[in-house]
């Protein structure tokens, strides 16, 4: 038993400052030999989140490119700036726009905070998409990481929705019409789409109820979901024994190899990535202002009215397919395919190898080139040559712009897949990757076309 505090000679000699310090962090007083000031405290704090040791091989920057860490940093920057914006923003149609103008012109650093929030949000989408590609191409979705792939997809959707709900809040022309179009899409959804539209808009028209819905979802529901999902996502990484082991295409599956202490080896690298990222965003936010157009005018749609850039791929599809197909059938099929990727039966798996194998790399390249050629041709053909309604009069557009083109495309991909599979004698991992790369390229080209090659009245035009 320690003597009573009044009789403790050591405590008597300590300054008030020290005594208060020890009362906050008792560990420092109990184990003086272990303590090295704050460092010890922070180290033990960090080790609550990170493992004590990590395999040295997984520290390689070219394994992860720091993308997951960047996403975390961006999420925290978004939460921080978002909280600050909440003090200035008024979620009412008549006042939202003016409150942002006031924030930008009258509040010190107001414009900067808004810029940081805007650019972090956009960058977050890019970073999580690249992270998704990294995980796919290093085969880091195989067992035991299967379900973490699903968590990742859910997080991606949540981030997408966060961006989308934040888009309306400035209540400018850009926001108003993008949200009009995007919520208008729900009307084509079978099974209660109209009801969901009515609910999300809080009525038939976009108005005060819509803004208040979006505000609540954007500032409370979605951040909460992101934080909870992130916790599960990281926990599953730990449960899988850390990151996937990187290796070359011809190497055998490696053991854990040499391990090194997390502090400082991993933490230092993470801090460097975080600081560089934050510096980059600060520079970007000083140089480039977040866009703010004229106040929303429900009577005047700008020409052209475009969706947010991350929905451009779907907007482009909307110009070629029946809305039911562009907005529901195709995205639904994409989502099903993505979810099923880790659950397909692979006779052998190669987690940790970039692009599966040397053969896989060649096939992926073929898939990319094919997509690069086929997609623009498809867009041009549909724009200038194909006119099913003139060729077969009276055909319902659900067939002419939905079932038939989709069936043709899928048949084409199936043919491509069979030819390549036979020619290369490829494994399932390699063929799945090739088809993935093909659709990825097609989607990127659709997005690029939507952003830069669509002019007035959505006609094809040079940028």
């Amino acid at each position: 038993m320690r003597p009573a505090q009044q009789n403790d000679p050591v405590a008597e000699q300590l300054s008030l400052f020290r005594r208060v310090g020890y009362s906050i962090f008792p560990g420092m007083a109990r184990q003086p030999e272990k303590r090295r000031g704050y460092r010890h405290f922070f180290n033990t704090l960090i080790l609550h989140f990170r493992p004590r040791i990590v395999p040295e091989r997984t520290l390689r920057f070219t394994l992860t490119w720091g993308l997951g860490g960047m996403a975390v940093v961006l999420v925290f920057m978004l939460i921080g700036t978002g909280l600050l914006l909440k003090f200035a923003y008024e979620p009412f149609p008549g006042r939202a726009y003016d409150s942002i103008v006031h924030l930008q012109n009258e509040v010190l650093f107001g414009q900067l905070i808004r810029n940081i929030h805007h650019w972090s949000a956009n960058l977050l989408l890019v970073v999580v998409f690249l992270h998704f590609l990294r995980v796919f191409f290093t085969g880091a979705f195989h067992s035991p990481r299967q379900f973490n792939w699903i968590f990742g997809l859910t997080l991606f959707v949540t981030v997408l929705l966060s961006n989308f709900t934040g888009y309306l809040l400035p209540w400018d022309q850009l926001a108003y019409w993008a949200i009009t179009i995007c919520t208008g899409m729900l009307e084509y959804m079978p099974f209660g789409g109209a009801k969901i539209q009515h609910w999300i808009r809080g009525g038939t028209e976009i108005g005060p109820a819509t803004l208040s819905n979006f505000y609540a979802i954007h500032t409370a529901i979605l951040p909460g979901c992101v934080i909870i999902l992130m916790a599960f996502h990281f926990w599953r990484v730990r449960k899988a024994g850390g990151l996937v082991m990187p290796r070359g295409p011809d190497e055998d599956a490696p053991s854990r190899g040499e391990t090194v202490p997390t502090i400082p080896n991993l933490i230092l690298r993470e801090v460097v990535v975080a600081l560089v990222l934050i510096a980059g965003i600060l520079v970007l936010s000083v140089v480039l202002n977040a866009p703010l157009e004229a106040k929303a005018n429900p009577g005047l749609s700008p020409n052209p009215t475009k969706a947010p850039w991350y929905f451009m791929g779907f907007q482009e599809m909307l110009l070629h397919f029946h809305p039911l197909f562009a907005l529901f059938v195709i995205p639904f099929l994409i989502m099903c395919a993505l979810v099923s990727i880790p659950y397909m039966r692979y006779p052998e798996t190669t987690p940790g190898v970039w692009f599966v194998s040397s053969k896989g790399r060649r096939m992926a390249l073929t898939g990319a080139v094919t997509g690069l050629i086929a997609t623009p041709i498809g867009i041009l053909l549909d724009e200038y040559v194909i006119d099913v309604v003139a060729w077969i009069p009276g055909i319902p557009s659900l067939l002419s712009n939905g079932v038939i083109p989709l069936a043709l495309i899928l048949a084409g991909v199936w043919g491509f897949y069979s030819v390549m599979k036979r020619r290369y004698g490829a494994s399932r991992e390699e063929t799945v990757q090739m088809v993935f790369v093909f659709f990825l390229t097609a989607f990127v080209i659709l997005t690029v076309t939507g952003i830069w090659f669509r002019g007035t009245a959505m006609k094809l035009a040079w940028p």
Binding site: W177, T180, I181, T183, G184, M185, E187, H198, W199, R201, G202, G203, G207, A209, P298, G299, L300, S301, P302, N303, P304, T305, L318, L319, H322, P323, S397, A457, M458, K459
Partner: protein, 169 residues
């Protein structure tokens, strides 16, 4: 407290009570979700009484045949066709809800968002719009055109009966 192990399986009463709790919990959860959904359901918009939904457009003579007049407040167009019939069209594109302006030069409604176009009767000239512009009920009382903007009428095609003609004096 140590659990006493017996040869008998868990007593059926305990099992039953456990299931009962589970069931009650499920019911409470369903009620909670139902409550939240009901709470979140959009109610009647404020100030949505019948008053104010009927817009008096003006005297019949004010509108020339083959002309389109925009009503910004009521969010509709009053069209008078060549034969003198009146038709009130919603300004919302049936594709994704953009506001369609009337292009007088080309005699059509041209949607700026995805390039849909409609003629003066609201019929689709060029897709992707899937159906004609929605219409509003028009009535003519004492030579004054009135439009009821309460409920847009969805149509699959233009019908001659939809036109309203002034009574011949």
């Amino acid at each position: 407290m140590k659990k006493q192990k017996t040869d008998q399986p868990e007593s059926s009463r305990r099992k039953f009570l456990g299931k009962l709790w589970l069931g009650l919990g499920a019911i409470a959860l369903i009620e909670l979700v139902g409550l939240i959904l009901t709470y979140l359901r959009p109610g009647k918009p404020r100030g949505s009484d019948d008053a104010g939904t009927v817009v008096e457009a003006g005297a019949v003579e004010k509108f020339l045949p083959d002309s389109v007049t925009a009503f910004v407040r009521g969010k509709f167009y009053l069209c008078r066709l060549e034969d003198g019939g009146f038709l009130a069209l919603s300004r919302k594109c049936t594709h994704l809800g953009c506001t369609v302006p009337w292009v007088d030069k080309e005699k059509k409604f041209a949607c700026p968002c995805h390039g849909s176009a409609f003629d003066i009767r609201g019929e689709v000239i060029s897709p992707p719009a899937p159906r004609p512009l929605d219409a509003y009920a028009v009535s003519i009382e004492n030579n004054v055109v009135k439009v009821n903007t309460k409920r847009p009428i969805k149509r699959s095609e233009f019908r001659k009966e939809a036109l309203v003609y002034p009574k011949k004096a």
